[in-house]
C-alpha cells in the first residue's frame, strides 16, 4: 500500500495538556478483509500507565486491532501510534517497545521454558549472560522455575499463558497487548493470570487488554472501550459504563422464604438499591438488587442484619457481555442473525490461515 494514503489528516493528541500522555493513540483505523470491514474507523486512547479494556464479541475486530498495533497487519487507512511511533512508518522502533501475548500462546512448544525466554532475550539483543539472567529471573517471577527445563508442550494451559506473559516481558516493554489472555482457561488459572497482569501494571506497564468477558474487563481495566462490528460503540471509565448498563446485581436469598418481601422493602427503605429497585424473584426465592460499588454491598448486608433478616446465600452477578450489548446497542452480541459479525470472523480466519 502506498504510504501516501496514510498521511494523517487527523489531529493527534499525543501530548494532552493534563500531563498524562497517551501510550497508544488510534484514529480512524480501517481494515477490510475483502468486502468485510473488520475495523470501521476506530478511535482509541490508552493513557500511559493505565489499562484499557477492549470489550467485544468474536469478530468485533479486537484481534485485528491488536495485530495492527503490533505491526503484524497494515491498516487500510487511519493512523495509530504507540509510544510515539507510527505503526506503518516506524514498525521496527515500535516493536522495541511493545510486548504481545496473543490469544494462542506464542511460544515454541518444542523448546523448554528457559530456552524460549533465552532465545527471545537474544533476539532482543541481550548479551548471552543477560539473556540467561533475564530468563531465570522471569521464570522465577512467573513461578515456572521447576518446569524451566521441560518442553513447553508439557505445560498446562495456565503455565503456557504464564510463559507467554514472561516472554512478552523480556524486553521490558512499555506497552503490553493482551489479546484475550484468559480465553479457554479455567477460573482458577484465570485468576492466576489476572494477578500476574496486575503485577505488571503495578510495574508501570501500559496495557491494552481485549476480552469477551465483562468480568475480566472489570477486574483489570480502568477504562473500557466496547466495540462491535469494527466500530466503537461505547467508551469510558468502567464505573461509568457499568452504571450505563446497570452495574452488578446482588442476589440475596433469605434463610426464610417468607422474608423475601420484607427483604426487598428493607432495601428500598434504606435507599440502597442503586440505579434500580429491588426485584423479588419468587421462583428462585431470591431478591435481586442492582448495586454500583463494594461499599453498597457492605451497606446492604448491614441493613438486612439491622432488620434481623438472616441470609442463606449472597452472590453478585455481573451483566454478561450479552446484556452489556443489549443495553448499549439494542442487539445481542452473539445472535444468529448477526451476519456481518460472523462474516468478519470468517474472513479473518481465512486471512489468518
Amino acid at each position: 500500500m502506498a504510504a501516501g494514503t496514510l498521511v494523517p489528516m487527523t489531529r493527534i493528541d499525543d501530548n494532552p495538556t493534563d500531563g498524562v500522555r497517551n501510550a497508544v493513540t488510534v484514529r480512524g483505523l480501517v481494515k477490510h478483509y475483502g468486502e468485510t470491514k473488520a475495523l470501521d474507523g476506530v478511535d482509541l486512547d490508552v493513557r500511559e500507565g493505565t489499562v484499557r479494556g477492549v470489550l467485544g464479541p468474536n469478530g468485533a475486530g479486537k484481534t485485528t486491532l491488536v495485530r495492527i498495533l503490533s505491526t503484524l497487519l497494515t491498516p487500510d487507512s487511519g493512523r495509530a501510534t504507540v509510544a510515539g511511533y507510527d505503526v506503518v512508518r516506524q514498525p521496527r522502533s515500535l516493536r522495541r517497545v511493545i510486548g504481545l501475548t496473543g490469544q494462542y500462546a506464542s511460544v515454541d512448544e518444542k523448546l523448554s521454558g528457559r530456552e524460549n525466554l533465552y532465545m527471545i532475550g537474544r533476539l532482543l539483543d541481550l548479551s548471552r549472560k543477560d539473556a540467561r539472567a533475564r530468563a531465570d529471573g522471569l521464570l522465577e517471577r512467573f513461578s515456572l522455575t521447576d518446569a524451566a527445563k521441560r518442553p513447553a508442550s508439557t505445560y498446562s494451559g495456565g503455565m503456557r499463558r504464564r510463559l507467554d506473559l514472561a516472554a512478552s516481558m523480556i524486553g521490558s516493554p512499555s506497552v503490553l497487548y493482551l489479546d484475550e489472555p484468559t480465553t479457554g482457561l479455567d477460573p482458577r488459572t484465570r485468576n492466576e493470570v489476572w494477578s500476574e497482569v496486575r503485577r505488571m501494571v503495578g510495574d508501570g506497564v501500559t496495557v491494552l487488554l481485549t476480552t469477551q468477558y465483562m468480568e475480566e474487563a472489570e477486574q483489570l481495566a480502568s477504562e473500557l472501550t466496547v466495540i462491535d462490528r469494527g466500530k466503537v460503540i461505547a467508551n469510558g471509565g468502567i464505573d461509568e459504563l457499568k452504571a450505563k448498563v446497570g452495574g452488578r446485581a446482588l442476589r440475596i436469598r433469605p434463610a426464610d422464604p417468607l422474608e423475601l418481601r420484607p427483604t426487598a422493602t428493607a432495601l428500598d427503605d434504606f435507599g440502597l438499591t442503586g440505579p434500580g429497585s429491588a426485584v423479588v424473584d419468587t421462583a428462585t426465592g431470591t431478591v435481586l438488587v442492582p448495586i454500583l460499588s463494594d461499599e453498597q454491598l457492605t451497606a446492604v448486608v448491614g441493613a438486612l442484619s439491622a432488620r434481623g433478616i438472616t441470609l442463606a446465600d449472597l452472590s453478585t452477578e455481573l451483566p454478561s457481555l450479552d446484556e452489556v450489548f443489549l443495553s448499549l446497542t439494542g442487539h445481542r452480541a452473539t445472535a444468529p442473525d448477526d451476519q456481518q459479525t460472523t462474516q468478519a470472523d470468517r474472513a479473518y480466519e481465512e486471512a489468518a490461515v
Partner: protein, 275 residues
C-alpha cells in the same frame, strides 16, 4: 476524546526507523538457528528423513534399476552414475520439507512473536535455510558413505567437494521457492501435493537416474533444459572427470542465482506482509 486536541504535527518522535545492523542480524540468525538445532535434540526423529532417505534411495535405485540400466552384475557402474545424481535429488526433497515445516511453524503463534520482535524479518527465513543446508550436508554425507560401500569411486577429491558445494547452492535456491509456498499456501499437505507434482517430473525427466539418450526427442529437449540434469552432470564430471564440466557448472550456478534473486525477495516480502 476527553483529552484536549492540540493541533500539532502527528509525530512526536523522529520519523526515522533504524534498520537492524549486520552484527545484530547475524546474532538473531544464530539465535534462531539454535532454536532449530534444539528442536532436533528434542525430537531426534526429525532427522530420520535425512538419515534414511539417502540409504533407501541408493539401495533401491542401485539394486532395482542398476542392473537393468547398466547390465546385470554391473551395479557398481550404475553406483558411479546415480550417486552424483542422487545428490541433486536429496536437495530437492529436503527443499520440499522446508516448505511443509515452515508452514506448520506458521500455524502456531510463535511466528507472531517473531514478527512482533524488532528483528529483521528475513532472519527467520535465513535461519531456516541455514539449518536445512546443514541437514542436506548430513544427507549428502550418508549418501556418499552408502555409495562408497556399494563401490563408488571418486578420482577427483577437490572435485567431490565442489560437487557437494554446487548441490548445496542449487538446493538452497530451491528452498526459497518452497519457503514462499510455505508462507503462501494454506496447509502443509497442499505444499507436499504440489511439490511432488512438480518435483517428480523434474527429477525423473532429467539425467539423474538414466542417460537421456534413450528418451524420445521431446523429452530429451526437456532434460537438456532441466537444471537438475546440469547439476547431476556437473557433479559426475567434477567427481570423476571424463567430461567437460564448465558449461554444466555455469548453467547450474546461473539457475541458482536467478532462482534466489527472484524467490528470496518474494519469500521475504510474503513473510513480511502475511496477515
Amino acid at each position: 476524546m476527553s483529552a484536549t486536541v492540540i493541533d500539532v504535527p502527528a509525530q512526536t518522535r523522529a520519523t526515522d526507523d533504524p534498520r537492524v545492523g549486520l552484527s545484530a542480524h547475524i546474532r538473531h540468525v544464530r539465535a534462531l538457528i539454535r532454536r532449530n538445532v534444539l528442536w532436533i535434540r528434542q525430537d531426534p526423529e526429525s532427522m530420520f528423513d535425512v538419515i534414511l532417505m539417502p540409504i533407501v534411495f541408493t539401495l533401491l535405485f542401485v539394486f532395482v534399476f542398476g542392473g537393468a540400466i547398466a547390465g546385470k552384475g554391473n551395479q557398481d557402474v550404475y553406483v558411479n552414475y546415480v550417486v552424483p545424481g542422487l545428490m541433486a535429488m536429496m536437495g530437492m526433497n529436503i527443499a520440499m520439507g522446508v516448505g511443509t515445516g515452515f508452514n506448520q511453524d506458521f500455524q502456531t503463534g510463535v511466528m507472531d512473536r517473531f514478527r512482533s520482535l524488532p528483528i529483521s524479518r528475513a532472519s527467520v527465513l535465513i535461519a531456516k535455510i541455514s539449518v536445512e543446508i546443514g541437514r542436506l550436508l548430513v544427507a549428502t554425507a550418508i549418501l556418499l558413505a552408502v555409495g562408497f560401500m556399494l563401490g563408488l569411486s571418486v578420482s577427483n577429491v577437490p572435485g567431490l567437494f565442489a560437487a557437494i558445494g554446487l548441490s548445496m547452492v542449487f538446493g538452497s535456491s530451491v528452498m526459497w521457492i518452497f519457503l514462499t509456498m510455505g508462507v503462501v499456501m494454506k496447509n502443509a499437505q497442499a505444499i507436499q501435493g504440489m511439490g511432488f507434482l512438480v518435483l517428480m517430473p523434474l527429477q525423473f525427466g532429467s539425467s539423474i537416474f538414466s542417460p537421456p539418450s534413450t528418451m524420445p526427442g521431446w523429452l530429451q529437449a526437456f532434460t537438456d533444459y532441466n537444471p537438475l540434469s546440469s547439476l547431476a552432470d556437473a557433479a559426475r564430471g567434477l567427481m570423476n572427470g571424463g567430461q567437460p564440466v564448465a558449461h554444466d557448472v555455469m548453467v547450474t550456478l546461473l539457475w541458482s542465482v536467478v532462482i534466489t534473486a527472484v524467490m528470496a525477495p518474494v519469500a521475504i516480502h510474503k513473510y513480511r506482509t502475511k496477515n
